[in-house]
Symmetry: C2
Subunit: 550 residues, 2 copies
């Protein structure tokens, strides 16, 4: 695999491939009695240990062998965060097959497209997805059988799916006498499709090496900082970039794992936090919005939660402040992509920051942060010329590293890299200390009079207004300036706010020419399958909009 | 390199080799302004940044190229912990040559043996080692030139060494225009000889891959737990297993680095801790003994120190308690070997331990801990049969992992591995939770009546007596029991203690048949070049000793 020259003198160290199976083996040997707790889609709470998980993963690996699954073949899952899904993470990848996690929030036709493109051989699904599975199964051409992740007595009497198997039957019918195979660490381990807003979804095909290296780096104190003293609840779904790698990095550390299942509403997440004394969680801003709303409305506190990592979209500074100042929960900004496994940067402070004023520290923490070791970033102009790290200059953000894709599965999208760098599609600044801040998606940036206006800043200011629940900013065609910003706003329930008041609110907070030309209020904003606001839908909706300044 | 089969489907991730040069590049890009502070052998304090270090390492890489150093060739250092030594870590390994760190506490003949065995091409030394270098230079057959690590005006007018170069001349005469070469990550990076107590020293030849993986794993919260908020002072020397990897792991995190130079006495280390506000340090028990004695005698406190890692030898529980209870400094036990890069286990607690009594937690913390991800351990009997993890059964400790050697440099010592495992030469127990405790070196264990007595326990009990400064326990031939324990003790200055009182002190603390048969008081114990007590010397000294019980 390596195209690099060897030294005349090679090291004399043990050569062990970096394989995903080694993670669950480590968790079993060193932390065998530590717990994995799951809120099941069946409604109850399930508890067992890393040792149990490893045993059942080996049983499932035997089951996959009996089903005829071969190295490199894809096995799909359509499931929430739970212990059976975790077993499949290890059973499928550990045995040399490729785990393909599918987002169940996609439409049936999209799922069928992805499953066919991936040539999935089997598909495992949570029992509540039976109707969805029945809807797309007829369109899937490569799947030999479907496995419903439940006990025998929960299986339907009859189903439109002919070849329907029961997960617990597969476990029961196989022994745990299984030795994880050793193979080249660059072998494919898992496949995750990006929910591209345009064109067909494209697959990121991870390797065992990239996954293990990503996990090692993400455990570090300036990464996700997970230790054996933590209780971790990944709110970010296991079908979304492998829950940011937590099903791998958490067993590496021996921390107790808590899976929330399908219930991601504020009340359910809060109750699980308290019941299991969760210390660390990770998710996208929309989930935290629900949680903070519930906690605020009911005058609750967090008794164990110490740290949340926020990624997927920029965390509104107002949310960060609420977590930190009202509830004493450290909130850490992270940035990444499906194409990056996903972790690229994390925003943590350095020793020389600790004596700064709180405002100065807060200003740093609102950025997306510096790279963790392994990832390199840079900003370039449209001619790929590198731009300065001055905290002001905008540029197209590129990334590099051993857990960044080199191309998409089956070559979709052609040559992706630009001079060896992956173009992230984000627009960002990087300051002299190396802290990166996303100012926009390159397709969302507003081009006004030849200059760029970043929409994230405008949205953050709008969302810091006490009457605003959500805000999205888009460019609207303008006869003089090409584009000018329109702010699309969802007000908080019962709040009173005029467009003039909101525009006034921007004064002194931003360059005058960045101020939105207009505000429009809506009942809700369109969200995609991963919870992100779909700006292309909003642009579509407002494509005929006439600005008062036009 | 990989002898493992490839999957029919390989991952589509960027393939970047894990190279040591990437660490200093990361530190420069992301933490370029963070400081490296060195107490120089010249006597003053030197300050600069990671960016400066990277620039000068590139200048030195050009200098090495100009000197004709080729990939795989060995370049030796004989130096304390300081910024120039750090530059060589990156310049030598980063350019593809092999950094050979030599322990200056060895005798001149030993150094010459090692340098000849390694076929070192150049040797860099701190200016205070000039007399030592002059003593061994005549016996070194492969070294083309010697480089004294100082400014031009510190160079001697004349020297017995004909080919003597000046470090700062090499820097000044070369530009920083140097691009780190990319090569196979299994290429040799550095070489470290073990100070074997018998036979010739043997070399552990690390690779770039093993070094980077070791650094990544050792950064983790349950490893050395170094973050960008730390100020790190490695007391453990850079000539001793690469200062436990800190010159690699610290730049990975961006923490401020503080190098103590040659002054490792309690006063010097304490002053540097306070002056630079050090939060984290790592070293062997003998150094901490000096520090604690100084701090205790002068009624001082640590104003910034939060955590020390203790390795090399077992940390006496009394020392651990003094650090934790008297000074509030967390003391973490670690275990490793030169042959393991060195980190194998670290003793940290898990979430379920946090509610235990302080005594119960302390009992865990006195063990050597559980493995960090990447390392596997097991205990076996003399027939290599695996022994149970019950916290009681003694066995020969074996280890495995990507940063464990597979053989010694040039095949010294022949086939080292036993069934794929590295025999550590330690005797240990492992408990049901996976916590390992060294009970002895296999050659130090006392065989009494067919059973084993671990000497470390006996030494720890002796050292918990307020009148005891140091203690070593050895087996003395006994007509009935084969061997029985003799305790060799150094009393604290001015302390009053009889052998009867000390033997009485063991009552109730240990199985009766483990109690030493006799005690003898000495003025000092012999120490080796890495600060460890040399038991073979003590055994030699007492080989004619007659026990009163014989």
């Amino acid at each position: 695999m390596s195209q690099y020259p060897q030294s005349p003198l090679m090291g004399q160290m043990m050569h062990q491939p970096l394989l995903i199976s080694s993670i669950i083996e480590h968790a079993d040997r060193q932390f065998g009695k530590n717990e994995i707790v799951s809120r099941r889609v069946e409604g109850d709470i399930h508890r067992y240990t890393y040792r149990d998980c490893h045993r059942r993963a080996r049983q499932m690996a035997n089951a996959l062998r009996a089903l005829g699954v071969k190295m490199g073949e894809r096995v799909a899952t359509l499931a929430w965060n739970g212990y059976r899904h975790m077993e499949l993470y290890y059973a499928v990848s550990g045995s040399g097959a490729v785990l393909h996690t599918i987002n169940p929030r996609l439409f049936a036709e999209q799922i069928a497209y992805i499953a066919n493109h991936a040539e999935d051989q089997y598909l495992f699904f949570d029992m509540n997805f039976l109707p969805l599975a029945e809807a797309f199964a007829a369109h899937c051409t490569t799947i030999k059988a479907y496995v419903m992740m439940c006990d025998r007595d929960r299986m339907p009497k009859e189903s439109k799916i002919a070849n329907l198997l029961c997960y617990e039957d597969l476990i029961d019918n196989n022994t745990d006498d299984y030795v994880w195979p050793l193979f080249d660490e660059n072998s494919a381990s898992s496949l995750c499709y990006t929910s591209g807003t345009t064109g067909h979804p494209k697959g990121a095909l991870y390797s065992h090496r990239s996954t293990v290296l990503h996990s090692l780096a993400s455990c570090s104190p300036d990464g996700l900082n997970v230790s054996a003293r933590d209780v971790v609840l990944p709110v970010v779904p296991m079908f979304h970039v492998n829950a940011w790698g937590l099903p791998y990095s958490v067993p590496m550390t021996g921390a107790k794992m808590v899976f929330p299942g399908a219930s991601l509403d504020g009340k359910s997440v809060y109750e699980l936090f308290e019941q299991e004394q969760v210390t660390f969680s990770a998710g996208v801003p929309t989930v935290w919005l629900g949680l903070l709303t519930y906690v605020g409305q009911n005058n609750l506190r967090f008794s164990s939660l110490k740290r949340t990592v926020v990624g997927g979209s920029a965390c509104p500074p107002s949310m960060m402040k609420t977590f930190m100042h009202k509830y004493g929960v450290e909130t850490v900004h992270a940035w990444g992509m499906t194409e990056m496994s996903p972790l690229g940067t994390v925003c943590t402070l350095q020793s020389n920051h600790l004596t700064m004023s709180e405002e100065a520290r807060q200003a740093i923490l609102e950025k997306q942060g510096h790279t963790i070791y392994g990832v390199q970033i840079r900003i370039v102009d449209d001619n790929f010329k590198e731009l300065p790290w001055d905290g002001k200059t905008f540029g197209n953000l590129q990334a590099k590293g051993p857990w960044v894709i080199s191309s998409y599965f089956k070559g979709e999208g052609g040559d992706v890299l630009q001079d060896g760098w992956f173009p992230t599609g984000d627009v960002a600044t990087i300051d002299a200390e190396g802290y990166m801040q996303i100012t926009d998606r390159s397709k969302d940036v507003i081009k006004s009079g030849g200059e760029w206006i970043g929409t994230i800043d405008l949205e953050n200011i709008a969302m810091s207004h006490p009457a605003v629940l959500q805000a999205a900013c888009i460019g609207i065609a303008h006869p003089k300036w090409d584009e000018r910003p329109l702010l699309v706003v969802v007000k908080k329930q019962g709040a009173d706010l005029t467009k003039e008041e909101l525009i006034e609110f921007f004064q002194g907070k931003i360059a005058k020419w960045w101020t939105p030309d207009d505000v429009t209020f809506v009942d809700e904003l369109p969200h995609g399958a991963t919870g992100k606001i779909l700006k292309n839908k909003i642009r579509e909706q407002f494509k005929e909009y006439k600005l008062p300044t036009a």
